[in-house]
Symmetry: C2
């Protein structure tokens, strides 16, 4: 069995592209993913998946229908399934996400921002 310690900053150092999640862990049918994000994402929702965002570095905003969340380094938020949300980040943010294996980044808004077949790094 291959049980290895995963260093987040080492994993972040392996890529530079933004809005492209990578898988760094799997457990109980869930994926742990990391991504670098900057600028505006699209408003979308996940019909069947709650989604956790944890900010490793930077400041992330998530626009909801009735408020905007500000998530700073060392903070996290859970977006319940069926909730429209639009992440954006004026400066680059290093993000850790936790969600079911089947979750696609753009949820119900398939399009040019959609990334499938994520690498495991």
């Amino acid at each position: 069995m291959d049980i290895k310690t995963v260093n987040l900053q080492e994993k972040f150092a392996t890529f530079t592209d933004q809005w492209h999640p990578r898988i760094i862990g799997e457990l109980n049918g869930q994926h742990v993913k990391i991504a670098k994000v900057q600028g505006e994402f699209i408003m979308h929702q996940h019909e069947h998946a709650d989604e956790l965002f944890f900010v490793v570095e930077g400041k992330l905003f998530i626009r909801l229908e009735d408020q905007t969340l500000e998530i700073n380094q060392g903070e996290m938020v859970v977006i319940p399934k069926g909730t429209n949300h639009q992440p954006y980040a004026p400066e680059e943010v290093k993000l850790l996400m936790f969600e079911p294996e089947s979750t696609v980044n753009t949820g119900n808004q398939e399009g040019e921002r959609t990334v499938r077949d994520l690498e495991k790094i």
Copy 2:
């Protein structure tokens, strides 16, 4: 709907006891928990649950049957179900865990270290 940003250090500041996990998030049938740990825990396993340990502060060791893992701040490890593991920490560690809602801290070794009915903080 109540969607709130969770600050990990603020949550850690609300308690001082060790080896007593608190729930700080719930999603997709999984719990996000935090705990302060120091000293030796017991060797145990979880028959049906993979378990993620993420070190927020400090240095955690996890003794397995054939190796000992060292997990530093900003590092994580997934312990697969059915794997005997014994966490220990010479100095206090602030720990984030991710596991199914049904997971009990001592797994198959019910005893005085077992904590049930975890608070949500």
